[in-house]
Symmetry: C2
Subunit: 340 residues, 2 copies
């Protein structure tokens, strides 16, 4: 049987109350008594029963996901996964809500963050580009006792787990390597389509992509990024313009998470001699495109894993616990038709 606080008290030769004070960092315990208790913890291998503790505290966790208001299927999938996660975590008294923000308006995001109170949320996961305003607002949140982590959009931090998502440079490199290998004996240009290159993740993916192509595939030339600004008409226009000036397109790399609109345009634009197409994220649309051979590969991250990982990390933060890093590492997945 696992030792309990009672066993600890006996082993340390103190009362339950003292054990409790040590365990919860309450004041009024002499240092040598603290030591005695800690030694007993070591000796018995005491592990606090977090579940009983939370029950006693009547504690529940409320987390908030700040997601961009705009978006398409990838965003919708995320919301669905958050609802799903609520089922799993309900047993642990954890609930997550979604709040919508204007991704491109740092002031609005900062305001939303600023008006959050500890009663409303124990932690937030923010999917928005890093800006000075947002960074400041996050710092103020943490001062209030609300933990904040970056979600998907952000940057791999070394060490601290402040970010849940993939290494976008590596994701771009993965796309680049596949593109290169799939086009080994072809020559031509590669179209790169992004929503906006202002977003750090798109930028990093592009850098990783270029690095591989430039280093190992001299037969391929990566064209300047086309920016769609999320607008369907603009997307159609710029892609068609690009095709006119550049007849020999061997590959297309769609950088952004929302690939539907650019994919629709691209698949219509190429009637014969389909180029190799690589996009990001698994959505109903991209999945269908992969099945019907309109797309050759997808570079994805598992939205369910992302959501659950963010929740686990926020919770561990709140409990001042360590996390198991290997479980929280978000993998860059490669999807082809066969392993869908």
């Amino acid at each position: 049987m696992r030792p309990t606080t009672k066993d600890l008290a006996i082993e340390a030769g103190v009362s339950l109350a003292t054990v409790d004070r040590v365990l919860n960092n309450r004041p009024g315990v002499r240092e040598d008594t603290v030591l005695k208790v800690n030694q007993a913890i070591q000796k018995l291998g005491f592990i606090r029963n977090v579940v009983a503790a939370n029950l006693a505290r009547g504690k529940s966790y409320r987390f908030l996901f700040l997601l961009p208001r705009t978006g398409d299927q990838f965003r919708a999938g995320l919301v669905e996964r958050i609802h799903e996660a609520n089922q799993i975590f309900a047993a642990e008294m954890i609930h997550a809500d979604v709040m919508h923000i204007h991704e491109s308006d740092p002031h609005q995001i900062a305001n939303a963050l600023g008006s959050l109170e500890l009663e409303q949320a124990d932690g937030v996961a923010i999917m928005a580009p890093e800006s000075p305003q947002v960074r400041d607002a996050k710092a103020r949140l943490v001062e209030k006792g609300i933990d904040a982590i970056s979600f998907i959009a952000g940057q791999m931090a070394s060490g601290r787990h402040d970010f849940v998502g993939i290494d976008n440079h590596a994701a771009g490199a993965t796309a680049g390597r596949l593109m290169g290998r799939f086009l080994k004996h072809s020559e031509g240009a590669i179209l790169v389509i992004a929503e906006t290159m202002l977003a750090r993740d798109s930028l990093e993916r592009r850098l990783g992509f270029d690095e591989i192509i430039n280093a190992d595939y001299p037969n391929l030339a990566v064209l300047p990024s086309l920016e769609t600004y999320g607008d369907a008409e603009r997307t159609a226009r710029i892609i068609h313009n690009s095709l006119l000036s550049q007849p020999n397109i061997a590959g297309v790399y769609i950088v952004s998470s929302e690939a539907r609109v650019p994919l629709e345009v691209v698949t219509k634009a190429f009637t014969k001699e389909k180029p190799v197409i690589i996009a990001h994220e698994r959505t109903p649309f991209t999945e269908a495109a992969l099945r019907s051979h309109h797309v050759d590969a997808l570079i994805t991250q598992d939205p369910g894993h992302l959501v659950r990982s963010a929740i686990r990390i926020l919770r561990a933060r709140k409990d001042r616990r360590e996390i198991l890093a290997s479980q929280e590492k978000i993998r860059i997945e490669v999807l082809i038709k066969e392993n869908l």
Copy 2:
């Protein structure tokens, strides 16, 4: 606040004791009373606090992983993940042990399973080929009240979650597609190396692999499988023999989970004109081989996910709860150097 049993009792107009009888299927409740309570559950959206329930029950879960005694780095990684999982699940009063079996001796496995008692384990995850003896032993276990699932080695069941692992046919197909695309403009033969083709997983991988190559890549010819029987010397011998009779090897596909020995032999055997090499599973060795370009791609399944999923499924079985299928789906991952 979440409704409690107390709220249920009030809503249904019965006592706590009756609510308890209904919730735990205890006898002595009239049918219309059961109905009243169930309606109250519906109306209030009552969710049983599993955590408090387990605390009250003093219940803890003991699970057992039956792993083959032989094996190399993949097996070692699994054991490590099981220890890791124990940390995570300790809070939920779950502990998993490892038991070693002779994979190839169905009688011994059946004996081990047969001698298990409910006091020793609440559930077992078995990594062993399906044989009539093992199947029978599993059935008897379930009669005893010990749940049993197949782990990694086994077959994707439709519907019921009796198996934790990947669809090996699809995994082989994934390997086949990558091999085909990487060798688009080459001609030659493909060496297939397995520990034994008696194992169902190797067989299925091979079938999936052949299906893709034969259908879409007439430039490639898949050779008969070489079986190593896990023996290093034999491996070296049969591979060298094969190379003598077959000078034009364009690709090598290593089917088995333990790829180290065949990989060592293969990388030494090809001095110039390295073939495309695809193997399974991420281990320290295969990871290094990928980094050093000795291997072109790995088809993997996440051992940590496998272990945690098996534990979650066994636990849900014990509690007679449903699982969240999307979390338990084990993905076929594709690893190249860039997304390691």
